[in-house]
Symmetry: C2
Subunit: 215 residues, 2 copies
Amino acid sequence: MDVYLDTGEEPDKPRTRIQEINRSAILVAALDVFSIHGFRGSTVDQIAQRAGMSKPNLLYYFRRKQDIYRAVLESILADWLAPLEALDAEGDPIEELRRYISLKMRMSADNTAASRLFANEVLAGAPVIGEFLATHLKELVLRKAAVIGHWVQSGRLAPIDPVHLIFTIWATTQHYADFDAQIRAVLGQQIDRPGYREQAAQAVLSIILNGIRPR
Amino acid sequence: MDVYLDTGEEPDKPRTRIQEINRSAILVAALDVFSIHGFRGSTVDQIAQRAGMSKPNLLYYFRRKQDIYRAVLESILADWLAPLEALDAEGDPIEELRRYISLKMRMSADNTAASRLFANEVLAGAPVIGEFLATHLKELVLRKAAVIGHWVQSGRLAPIDPVHLIFTIWATTQHYADFDAQIRAVLGQQIDRPGYREQAAQAVLSIILNGIRPR
DNA sequence: CTCCGATTTGACCAAATAGTCAAGATTTTC
DNA sequence: GAAAATCTTGACTATTTGGTCAAATCGGAG
């Protein structure tokens, strides 16, 4: 599965070297801008400037603002879902979930912009990725919830609702990226201390894993 | 403490009956609009229409768009923090936290717009409430973290980082409001079933409370 | 080098939108 | 019930912004 969203592009157009460079510069710039201001709060000019080109030039690569937005979401969706996809029914439940949570925490910290872009989109009612969520994401979640459900049934996890466990994991891990400003305000410069990320990950892991360990 | 944000208003101006009515109609409308589209994505006209008045009339009550936005945030901040304020050092730790989490879940479900408004503001880097977060919120969090810290030290809670516990609670409870579109996409019409809210609350309570229960 | 398609941009347009204002309507006050 | 204060709005302005276009420039294939 290589295409998640209809980005309104020609599928097989070969790209020149310059196109390759500029398109990716635009996507990087657009991620930064959209992730902070949201779709409507961002301007094409902002993105063009950050990408180091003029607005008409940017619009030469993406004819409409919407097209840039869709392309950025598209470029991230696969990565965003990969960790859940990797949850292995054959593995040890606690270890599998530890790995999943750790990975999500790391992704959140390493790519705060992507996390915030999703948050903005979903907060606005998911106008662009709504259909994707209702099909691909739903399918993935239900499939992995079944795996977790089996773990529960076999007594290898405490009796919890698998889907809500997934929601809880998403909520906590993404919180550190999405609400960075709030966390930063509360913790001040602590947040930039070397061990901070590990400490946060450890706290989340401790609460959730102990919360679902069989009793 | 009655004023959290500088809303740029005359403090003691008495309000007429009509002012009272219209100002609150505007705040209600603005909450709905801002919470979905964010500050820059919302228009004064949208808010005016939803409040049932003309744009110039709205601007008679709030001279600038920013003023409306600040006033809405101001009108919500106190309520939003009250539950944490109520965490009682003298109570039973698990019961106190159960009450806190339940209350936050209920607030999130009953007032999704307020939750999303905050999410939008913080996501954008908290340009308006940033100072408030770094002072009042920080003070409150550290004060309550100390309470939780004592519970941990006396062995009445498992050894967890109190501040991260608070973050985890915020993350999970607000997730249900902020990411409603995503949850709705995954769960479909289930979300409107009678017992759904209780089920979600139960799942969150189960994971977190078991996660911090002394072992 | 030379030509042709690809790339770039200054200048521009149309629509959206925050905010103003003066005049008219309504409510309150005495 | 009349004057004063408050409230309301149509019409307007200035600015921002998404998007167009023709002309200029650049880059690579032969």
